[in-house]
Each structure stands twice: as C-alpha cells, then as structure tokens.
C-alpha cells in the first residue's frame, strides 16, 4: 500500500448563517457576486486549480448547504478536511462570538490527528459595509490566542482580499497534507464515478 500523493484538497467553510460563506466561495471561484441568495440553496462545492509552491493542486471548497442554519451539520461533512475556513460578519458581533463554538465543533467532529496545528483561516467578511461592529484588533487578538490563526478581512461583494485569503488557505491545507502523508491515512479509498478506479490490468473478466 504505497502512499499516494493527494492532489485534491478539501476545504470546508464554517460560520453562522448569512455571514457570506457562499458568496466568498463564488467570488473566489467564479468571480461573481449576487445579493440574491438569502439562505444557501444549490450551493454544494466548488473546485478550483491553484498553484502552490510550484505544484498544481485542486482545491475543493465545501459549502454548508444551509445545514448549519439549525445546527444540523452531520459528521460526514467534516470528514477528511485539509483546512477549515471560519467566517464571520464584521457587522454582526454574534457571528464573531460564535467563532469559538464553530472552531470547537470542527475539532470535535473532524477530530484531526493534531488539533493544535490543524490549519484554520479566519475571514472577517462584509468590510464594504459601513456599520462595522467588530474591530480588527479584537479579531486579531482572538486569532492570536488560538495558535496564530491567519486572519483576513474580506468583501465578497467587492472582491477585496478574497484571492489572497484563499491562496493562504490552499498553502496551509497543502502543508497539512504534507504532514498527513507521512502518516499514510487511507491510501486505497475509492470514488465511484471515476474511471481510474478500475483495475489497471486486464483482470476485468467475469471469471
């Protein structure tokens, strides 16, 4: 069972409803923003190829699909995450306070091997709005207290800092992946729709 270099990074986005998780994802991947989505409908996951340290990797960004609205994200959502993005709305102090419980929830559900060093990235979204309530300093302090989580202030609407934030996310996810590779987690797992799962040799006979 040889280790296989995984070139697919799973990134999950967490945070209260309507902090802009889907919009951030859409801004980053599709370069577009819409005021239309109130609650997340139809948002599943997006994939984007990124170059990190001269290596091309596919980043798969998973949205909550609205299941966070009544605290009903199942453990399956968290499986195998390489990086967790915590989003709050700088105009909604409660969404900032809840970062603690989202982080805890992630660590419990995903139970990463090394919770101390698992890569999180925090995004304070909607900086384009006037009625800001959470100061940069407060957010930075919180991030520092949690093992120096990288922090970005973004606007999904204006596209501010989104590219840069996700570049960091990809980089940190890949580093996490590099460490996990040494441990050789589950080298043989299959995805059903992919052709390359079929045995390579001519052993496809039905006996």
């Amino acid at each position: 069972m040889a280790t296989r270099k995984k070139s697919l990074l799973k990134v999950i986005i967490l945070g209260d409803s309507s902090v802009g998780k889907t919009s951030l994802m859409n801004q980053y991947v599709n370069k577009r923003f819409s005021n239309q989505y109130k609650a997340t409908i139809g948002a599943d996951f997006c994939t984007k190829e990124v170059v990190v340290n001269d290596r091309v990797v596919t980043m798969q960004i998973w949205d909550t699909a609205g299941q966070e609205r009544f605290q009903s994200l199942g453990v399956a959502f968290y499986r195998g995450a390489d990086c967790c993005v915590l989003v709050y709305d700088v105009t909604a102090p409660n969404s900032f306070k809840n970062l603690d419980s989202w982080r805890d929830e992630f660590l419990i559900q995903a139970s990463p091997r090394d919770p101390e060093h698992f890569p999180f990235v925090v995004l304070g979204n909607k900086v384009d709005l006037d009625n800001r309530q959470v100061s940069t300093r407060r957010a930075q302090q919180w991030c520092q207290s949690k093992n120096d989580i990288p922090y970005y202030e973004t606007s999904a609407k204006e596209g501010i800092n989104v590219e840069m934030a996700f570049q960091t996310i990809a980089k940190n996810a890949l580093e996490q992946e590099a460490e996990a590779e040494l441990i050789n987690d589950f080298p043989d797992q299959l995805r059903l729709n992919s052709e390359n799962n079929r045995p390579g040799n001519a052993d496809n006979c039905q006996c």
Binding site: M1, N30, R32, S34, I41, G42, A43, D44, F45, C46, T47, A65, G66, Q67, R69, F70, Q71, S72, G74, V75, A76, F77, R79, G80, I108, S111, F186, D188, Q189, L190, R191, L192, N193, E195, N197, R198, P199, N201, D203, N204, C205, Q206, C207
Partner: protein, 511 residues
C-alpha cells in the same frame, strides 16, 4: 435556538435513517419544499454510526427501535508476564471519536442497487468507499479467502489445480445462464434447488462450500433460479472496483444517509436535528405536526417507525425484534496473516448454523475503513432475530468464530434492532407513510425499494433521483451571460460533449 423555521412544506420527513433520507433527497431533487427533522442530535437513526462513548451510552438507553443492549469489557487474558495487548478500557475510550460503530453495517455489491443509485443520482460525489479485501469462508474450521478474480483463482493456494479448473468452469456456466449460449442441461434444474444443480456438476466439497457459502450465498433450500441470480450478481460485480465484488463505505455505513441528506439540503431542504414531534394530526388536505410549541403544516408526511409519536405508534403495530447484532472490538484480526496483509482491510464472512437453516454475516474492519483506530479491529456480526436475546441468537456463530480462532476481544456488545412488521405499516389507517426500518440483507435492495415505493406513492409520475448536475455544470440564470452553454459551443465541441454524455449514460447501466 432562534426559531425562524418556516411552517408550511410540501413534505415533512421525520427521522434521518437511510430510507427517510432517500425519500427526502428524491422529493427535494424534483423541487418539493422539504423539512427533514430528527429527534436525535445525530443523523441516521438506527442506520447511524457512533463514537465508542456514544455507542455505549446508546446501549444503556433502550428505545423502541434499539433494545436488549448489553456490553462487556474483557480484561486481557493475562498470562501475567506477557500481556497479549496493551489496550485497556481507558485507552480505548481515550480514542472514542476514532471509532465509527455501525448499528446497521452492510456491504454493497459493486454493481448492486446502492452503487447504481449513487451513480445515477450523482450522490456518489459525497461518499468514499473501500473495496473489500477478502470474501472469506469457513472450511474445516479454517478461515480461508474465496478467490474472486481470475488471477485470484490462479494464485490461490486454497484450491488444487483440478479444483481451479472446475470452479472456473462452473462460474462460467453460471455467468452464461440465461443467455443464448446457455447450456441446455442447466434448464432441467428449473424448479429444483441450487444445491442439486451444484452437486450435479460434480464439484468437490470445497468448491461446493465456496459457492454455497460465499458466492451464491445460499442454503440447502434455495431454489435453482435464486441461486443462479445471486451467483450472477456476485460475478457481475467483479472487476469494477478492486479485487472483490463488494464495497464498504469509508467511516462506516452511517455516512450514507448523510450523503442523501446533503443532496436534499443542496436542493433547498431544511434540516433540523434535535427536533422531536409531540403529535401529528390531519385534515383532508394536510398534516399538522406539533413540534416544540409550533404547528408545522405539510401536504405529505413520511416517518421512521422509531420516531412516531406514542399516540400514533399503535396504528402501525408493535415493534418486534428484527435483527440481532453483535459488535466486538479486538486487537487481533480473525484469520491468518494472508487474510490481513498490511494490517488488514475489510473482510466479509457469511456464517451458517443449525444445519444451514440460519445464517449470519460478519464484517471485519481494520483502521483502513476509517472506522477504528490503528491496531484495532471491529467485528460486526448480524443475523435475523429469532428471539429478544441477541447474544443467544448469535451464540452459535460467535462460537464458530472465537472458539477456534484466537482473538483478543476487548469489548463485546449485543443489541436488537426492532421495527413494526410490514403488514402493520401497510395497513395503518392514517395518511402518514411509515418507512420499514432495516431488514437483514446484503446491499440495500429492500431499503431502496422501500424509498422508491414511498416516493412513487407521493409523486406518481416523477423520476426517482435523476442525476444531479455537478456544481460546474450549473449556470445561474442571468448571472453570467458570457458563460458557455451547450448551444453556444462550436459544433465539434458540442458533438464531443454529447459523446461524453452518452458514454456517461452507458457507464451507469453497464453490467
């Protein structure tokens, strides 16, 4: 919890077990407005997987659908100087969350109903699987691997040269059965038993065992047609993924309902765990669900038997024992090194008792299944319930496993999965559609059939879980006019796209 839950729905589904989740996803997929709730704080109901701690807690709290729970911690069989294992109760509990202990574990045929449904609906993008490493059988009290592929047959040391040839010949005949080139001789066995047919082929006892126990999964009374069907199902699932015809979901079967729920949510279904139902009433046109001081209204309602409010449960008949389950955590896998190469994978063994009248299914999981910590193994033992005492129901099977095969058991647990009888559900005089609860089966045929049937009862002419497009394929109206669609493609590219689509369709139905 701030409760801005909407109050009117096309469909309310209560319980997040496999069947309910299938129905919820299918309804949401065709644009119905779905509320999916569960009284528990986890997905999956009696189809769920649990951490070690949660599992033990569950056994201590009997419910309508899970009862007769018991568990025992076993001390290391201490030959004092040489402790066989360093695992203790404490060290197991410390890794509690590394366990994913299934209540209703099962394997899926690579070309079976579950895999077909997952691919057809594109829900497969949410799930990962492990191909089973070995299909085993007990022969002369020895655990041996049943050769599955042609190279397996060539390489196996289990069979002699002559036996190999006989087995290949037999399986080829089974595979051709029903086709034009079908051997006339085999037609004579219609209406007789599969065992008679097998014996007439003059195979050796070992091969007969191989076929009966592991490949056709038959007993002495199984009809010729059924035996043929099952053999073909086994053979038809070979060569698709991995080396055996079976798959097991990574992290356990409890992941599967969640995959369906995610699709439901992606299409707008609303999810609310920890939400119990106090009562259900109805008028001619709608159902009224009282839950946490609110009245939720829906045109239709689907409910798991385990989550029916007490006032209504009587309509559907008493819950009775259906499946007897044993779950063992060990520090040593069953069988020799050959069967557990590199720490083991996922192995399947079908056991027989009472002269072949009763059967049980054993699934052994190593940490490569994602369901337990490294160095430990989970043994899931399942048999149709014949009493309210799961340990007694499984005693004959457990004896075959553990008396002759030294295994370092650290924890043994037993429980019963109960559900109302099918007649009760069908005859209930209410507009509530009740799902059937888990049955004893390989794969998910009965469960999927149950979901399909409920769905067609609700939405007669609608398609059941048509393919959900991948995110890249979705173009939101008016958002990006420059985005490509099929018609704006140049002709050659459009032809290519159509070819691809056709190829994709062929993949789904290939067998």
């Amino acid at each position: 919890m701030s409760d801005d839950l909407p109050e009117e729905f096309d469909l309310i589904v209560i319980g997040t077990g496999f069947v309910e989740s299938c129905v919820a996803a299918a309804a949401s997929r065709i644009g119905k407005n779905v509320l999916h709730i569960d009284a528990n704080d986890y997905y999956g109901d009696v189809w769920s997987s649990f951490s070690l701690e949660a599992f033990i807690k569950l056994l201590e709290q009997p419910s309508n659908s899970l009862r007769n729970g018991s568990y025992t911690w076993h001390k290391s069989t201490e030959q004092e100087e040489q402790p066989v294992t360093s695992w203790t109760r404490e060290s197991l509990l410390e890794k509690s969350r590394r366990f994913s202990l299934d209540l209703s574990p099962r394997v899926a045929y690579c070309a079976g109903s579950l895999v077909q449904l997952l691919i057809q609906s594109n829900i497969c993008r949410y799930a990962e699987f492990r191909s089973l490493d070995h299909v085993c059988m007990l022969y002369n009290e020895e655990l041996v691997s049943v050769p599955c592929s042609r190279s397996d047959v060539f390489n196996t040391k289990t069979l002699t040269m002559v036996e190999k040839r006989l087995l290949m010949k037999f399986l080829t005949a089974c595979n051709d059965y029903g086709e034009d080139k079908c051997n006339e001789d085999s037609l004579a066995f219609r209406g007789r038993t599969f065992l008679e047919y097998l014996q007439a082929q003059r195979v050796t006892e070992k091969i007969a065992n191989c076929v009966m126990q592991a490949i056709a999964m038959c007993d002495a009374n199984t009809s010729f047609e059924t035996g043929m069907q099952r053999t073909q199902r086994f053979l038809g699932s070979l060569g698709r993924y991995g080396n055996t015809p079976f798959l097991f979901p990574m992290y356990g079967c409890g992941e599967l309902p969640q995959c369906f729920c995610r699709l439901c949510a992606v299409y707008g279904g609303i999810y609310c765990l920890k939400r119990s139902v106090d009562d259900i009433n109805w008028t001619d046109s709608e159902l009224l669900v009282s839950s946490a001081g609110k009245t939720l209204r829906a045109k239709h309602l689907v409910c798991a038997p385990s989550q029916l409010p007490a006032t209504l449960a009587t309509h559907f008949g008493e819950s009775e024992p259906r499946i007897s389950r044993g779950l063992f955590i060990t520090s040593k896998p069953l069988g020799n090194e050959e069967l557990n190469k590199g720490g083991g994978g996922v192995n399947l063994l079908r056991l027989l008792a009472a002269n072949g009248e009763r059967e049980a299914c054993l699934i052994q999981l190593s940490h490569y299944s994602g369901a337990c910590p490294e160095g430990l193994y989970i043994l899931h033992l399942t048999t149709p319930a014949i009493s309210a005492d799961p340990a007694a129901d499984l005693a004959d099977f457990a004896a075959q496993l553990f008396e002759t095969h030294a295994s370092q058991i650290l924890l043994s647990a037993y429980f019963t999965i109960a559900a109302p009888a099918a007649e009760g559900i069908a005859n209930a005089d209410t507009p509530i559609l009740c799902t059937a609860g888990p049955a004893y089966e390989q794969d998910y045929d009965a469960a999927i059939e149950n979901a399909r049937q409920i769905f067609s009862q609700l939405y007669a002419n609608e398609e059941f879980l048509p393919r959900a497009p991948d995110p890249e394929e979705i173009v939101v109206d008016g958002e990006d006019p420059s985005a490509l669609n099929e018609h704006s493609l140049p002709d050659d590219l459009r032809a290519q796209l159509q070819d691809l689509e056709q190829a994709a369709q062929h993949m789904d139905i290939a067998d």
